[in-house]
Symmetry: C2
């Protein structure tokens, strides 16, 4: 599994912090940080209890705010959820591109799939995860317009998998139609949110190796 070690550094969510002038408009900077923290805590609650069962008062309490204050940052509960999904997906696309770009140019299709799988586990289960799992499990909560907005980004994320799967199929290393295989593989990985435990027996590298073996035969 030489394909996986370089990925740890590309954890999403940590990357794009505002660079330069880190001190000047302290008010503005704090606003951004607070907004982000609100999204973080909200996402955690959405994931644990579900969006509908999480009250804006729960979120406020998790921030040490009073009940009306979240509405200073987001005009509605739905707008907060939308921001979580949208910014989560934007970060995922960015970190996925970085992960692929860090690959050696001579890397073969199996190595590319390994990077994609490892990165996907990272955004699902890694220390800076949270937004994407919310997206996966609260998709039906979005309005049609919101869904379209997130879909545009999500499509880009998923599209990056297709050439890799198609190449594997041509090599005889993937024994299913690439389009269907992609759906099954995403399902297999996404489902890990339901059973993965941080203290459990599995590491993300280990799971990546098992997944590659399952989908592409013994490595």
């Amino acid at each position: 599994m030489a394909t996986t070690s370089a990925l740890a550094a590309v954890a999403p969510g940590t990357a794009q912090r505002p660079r330069g002038r880190p001190r000047k408009a302290a008010g503005e900077l704090d606003e951004g940080n607070r907004r982000r923290e609100l999204m973080d805590r909200a996402a955690r609650l959405f994931l644990a209890k579900g969006y509908a069962a999480t009250t804006t008062r729960d979120i406020a309490a998790a921030m040490g705010m009073h009940s009306g204050s979240p509405f200073y940052y987001f005009k509605s509960k739905g707008a907060l959820l939308y921001a979580v999904m949208r910014e989560g997906m934007e970060g995922a696309v960015r970190s996925q591109q970085q992960a692929l770009a860090a690959l050696a140019p001579e890397a073969d299709a199996r190595a590319r799939l390994g990077v994609l799988v490892r990165h996907h586990f990272e955004i699902l289960l890694g220390p800076h995860s949270g937004f994407i799992p919310v997206m996966l499990y609260e998709w039906r909560t979005l309005t049609a317009v919101q869904r379209k907005g997130v879909s545009r980004i999500k499509d880009a994320y998923e599209a990056a998998w297709m050439p890799v799967l198609e190449q594997l199929a041509r090599q005889g290393a993937l024994h299913a139609e690439p389009a269907v295989a992609r759906l099954f593989i995403f399902g297999a990985l996404n489902w890990s949110v339901q059973w993965f435990k941080d203290k459990g027996p599995h590491t993300l590298d280990g799971l990546t190796g098992q997944a590659l073996q399952l989908f592409t035969g013994k490595a």
Copy 2:
């Protein structure tokens, strides 16, 4: 895919209707039917909007009842959800056993896996599905005690897969640890609830074939 055709008859939910004396206590029989219909309609709503976002008034309206009437059949909204999951899982265990029992005695491990996968698609996506998808996506809504109650049944359902996966691994037809493979495979199948369309290009038989090829190599 000779392993799949016999399964259509074993659709869960249709099987165990009260046999014998189909006429006598009409009131009682109707009560049972109404209760079942309530669970059916509630499950549909739970799946479409989520449990917390579905009001007991929504459910009553879907039944043509007034707002207080669901509580004649279930003492609480949570008890209704629990009944959906519990009876759904009980039916799934029964129909899975029937599906395996209908297998030819000389069927090999791949054929057994085919039956398990095809049956699983049936309870997820078939015409009488609904309860199991609710269980999958509302698991966190249950209380700890309720979770334990459903887990007992769910464990039996999942346990039936392990000897098949272990045998495939021994044959070299499954290239991952059986325990991990089971988690990935369940994820791949369960996720289909999110993307499968009745009018879409896929049939349950076709998906079963693709899944077998993906997980166990070319058939």
